[in-house]
Amino acid sequence: MFSKPIFKQSIKTNWKLWAIITIIASVILSGFIIGYDAEGYASIAAAAKGTAFSSLLSSMDSLLGNLENFYKLIGLILGIVYVVFTANTLVVSEVDSGSMAYTLSTPIKRSSVIFTKSLYLILSVILMYVIVSLAGLGASQLKYNNVTGYPITEDIEKASETLDKSEGYLSEHLYLIKDNEQAMRDAAEARDMDLDAYSIYLGEVIKDHSYEEAAKIITDERRDIYEDDDDMEDDDIEITTEELIKNPAMILASNDALKAGASVQGISVNEYRQFLADEITALKAEKNEENKGKSQPTVMITKANRELLLQAVIDSSAKALNMNSAQVKDNLTLIKDPTALEASMKATDLNKKQIITMANHAMVSSARSVDAALEFDTETYFWLSLGLLILILAISSVSFFASTLFNRSGLALAIGGGIPFAFFLLTMVQQLMDDAPVILKYLTITTLFDTDAILASGEFGWGLVALGTIAFVLYAASNVIFTKKDLPL
């Protein structure tokens, strides 16, 4: 079935366009990743909350979400350009010009010719998107170290200079920063926090990392235990970091998990045991507190009024310091200035401790959201990449089908290029218009590649199966048609 000479000839005629598109797509994807401004998007997204832009920006609050426009638009159109022109060159242009006559004057079967050409298109698309995906992965790893390890944030960069340790090493041994006063100060400054807030932040990050490492080990152990148990789904076996945050007691049951967690914290296993015990007590206390309620302060901070109160504190601090609110918002440590505190207490009836806690909390949570934005979810990235690949394969099958069905190159290009381009335009309208008519969704196969669902860990598998089926059916049909049709050679 496979013909080596045909395959080689296909490479010779088409490699240039392939290389150009592969390079452009790799560069653009890497650019999207490297140029991602986590802090910028976080603050813009916060500012745009409740406005018409919020839906447009909502996906940009994470590194991978920010890539949605690549996967939905740029990666798509580049792929379309490649498959449309390559499909045309591979079959119909050879038939139309007559050069297919030379190929068919040899003992190579028609079925081998078309099979090999389909295979070339499919394999070249796969290789293209594997390279592009790896380029994106590499760019992210080089810039943020977030593929194989924890993201390298500005505080780690700064502290690595102070401590003369590599960034990668430091990102896995954050307690080293905690142990060095100078490093703490430099790191805090790099993240626009005061020492107080930063040490709370660092403590939380280290704790989460220790839970994450522990979660991995517990999951592995459970995998061994439930390996043969058909009743247990993968999701049931897996213990996530979030589950451990809610219930740290699970770590106590596993020695290896304890060891892993302790090493992240830079403490002994016994100390870590104590730490976990304290955490468990604190969690219980928190629960009780919620139930009982405290009546001491005049004003209670609740989830509902937290943002309003914070805004009030910021505004009054700004007034007291003779600045505008935006400046204070950018540097929340200013709230802790005595003059500002005084003014805020008057304006909000909150006590000093409450305001300081609130300021710390605001700084920590904003820093944590930047960290979260920089996290690289390998699984999500894999599905985004695979989804785009399958979508392009489905589109390539449309172009290839047109290329084998028609005998005139122009007509084949009009149909085999027009349909994919129409798909792209429909996708663009949906992507950029907030109130795009719902019917558009049903007019393009790009809808089957549901990036929103992939990013939100929703249901997206059937769409990809459908795309794969389209590709299979159209490629198979092309093979049959070409073997049976009259060729005007």
Binding site: T13, S93, E94, T106, P107
Partner: protein, 312 residues
Amino acid sequence: MSVIEVKHVTKDYGHGRGIFDVSFEINEGEAFGFLGPNGAGKSTTIRHLMGFSKADEGELSINGKDSWKSAANIKQDVGYLPGELAFPKGMTGDQFIEFMANARKITDMTRTEQLKELFKVDTSKEIKEMSLGTKRKLAVVTAFMHNPKILILDEPTSGLDPVMQERFIQFILKEKSEGKTILLSSHIFTEVDATCDRIAIIKNGVVVSTVESNELKQSTNKSFKIEFASFEDYQKFIENTEFTIPTKRPEQNQVKLSLTDQKMQEFFTELSKVKVNFISEIKFTLEDYFMDFYDRKKTVAAGEENLRYGLH
């Protein structure tokens, strides 16, 4: 034994285009000419023989194998020279030769080198930069590189200069002497005349006549044009002659007639009774024969009529 067989093949493209009930067969070692104007159906027939198109009706076979079903298998023994000089894009001549050699699984390139030498072709250039003649030579080299037993040649010499045309004809004659079976389609009379044993003439998709080349050359029919000295002589000859006179030109006192060699004595006896200005023989060539069919206005019957009398 017939190597190529075409039996009652019809392919109707509509609007009177296509081929209709085309039949012929070519025996082993025979060179068969396929003569006809552009658009007459020569290439269409060859396209069917090569398995590019499927006939509406009829059967085609090469070496006893069906041209459509065993298309790939047949090609082992077939060298095909397409009429169109459309090569794959972005290749040099050498790359194209390499591609064709790989496609045919040829490893021994001596014959290819010989052919390149014979036709003096420089294959190192990009194909798109080659002249028409060089492209044609390249096609010739790749069509014959595997030393096929059957040659199917569609307008093989168009684009070649007269020297190369002559060299090509010599090459074909040599192939023929080696026992190759040849189907040569052309609208150039001389090359068909020089190479082919039998010639089929196709017009508007119908094979109007199949002739033996030798029969034509050794025809015992002779045609003459005679001009008489005066109208009286002209009158006298017409009234007394026992020959049928298809063409009479009283204004010029001329007649045209044809007769067999056996009647030659009688003919001159008759002529001796009148005064004659001149008498000239009208040489009959394949070209004349063909021209009758070439003219689309003339019917098939008229062409056959002329063949019988060899007159114009």
